[in-house]
Amino acid sequence: MELPTKTFRVTRADLIRYAGASGDFNPIHWSDRIATSVGLPGVIAHGMFTMALVGRAVAEWAGAADAVVDYAVRFTRPVVVPDDEQGTEIEVTAAVREVTDAGLTRIDITATCHGEKVLSQARATIRMAG
């Protein structure tokens, strides 16, 4: 079963806010000068910010804020966030892999930016509401 696609817009302001809230002030997430000096195309989103947005999608699919039992991702490609009003967009889809005997739902997740996968082996186990 495919779950409804969710999209998340990501702007520079979002990265600054996430840096403050998470305590991750690595300059590759706010300085083009430093990001390009280490070989990146420009400022990139925190991997953990992408994981957090995908986690929101998972919680919304589950229908409860406390539904996530297990959640794992591999970061495969950076999410480049341009310094403009539009930023970029992450698209998240998922499919139910199995429902366990204990009533937990395992889902396989795909997250893309400009049509390219930014995560691999992204999986969650959730307790569906109701």
Partner: protein, 148 residues
């Protein structure tokens, strides 16, 4: 980049307890756009059976990222932090983190590998209350990019 595989199995001393504040959970939830009432409103969280507001699933990274500096900054392991990128991340929950929790982290190095000129270090962090009640286990793999 060559890392010493004899570090596998090394466990570090427990970190000082981290006090999970209600406003910190709200701030983190707001930063990721998580508007569900249980992240913001204690009454909504209690309706789900929790004592206070519930943290979003990736919130423990606030606690564990600081804790894993023990490993990344271990001079004996010798990781060059400027070459570190995040590889994998996993959270396995016993129960959600809620405001009012005090969380202690114990880091163990699960894997040290060198492949294709890059180093890989996987850390497992057991996040518990000070009494040892398990809350969440967090795995984080970092990649130390090779020179050139």
């Amino acid at each position: 980049m060559s890392l010493d595989p004899s570090f596998v199995g090394r466990t570090y001393p427990p970190t000082a307890p981290y006090q999970v504040g209600r406003e910190k959970i709200r701030e983190f939830a707001t930063a990721i756009g998580a508007t569900e009432p249980a992240h913001h409103d204690p009454t909504a969280a209690r309706a789900l059976g929790h004592p206070d507001v519930v943290a979003p699933p990736t919130f423990p990274v606030v606690v564990t990222m600081a804790a894993t500096r023990q490993v990344v900054e271990d001079p004996d392991l010798g990781v060059d932090y400027s070459r570190v990128v995040h590889g994998d991340q996993r959270f396995a929950y016993t129960r959600p983190v809620v405001a009012g929790d005090e969380l202690v982290c114990v880091n163990t190095i699960e894997e040290v590998r060198t492949r294709g000129g890059h180093g890989f270090v996987t850390t497992r962090t057991e996040v518990t209350t000070p009494d040892g009640e398990p809350v969440v286990t967090v795995w984080s793999k970092i990649v130390v990019r090779g020179e050139g």
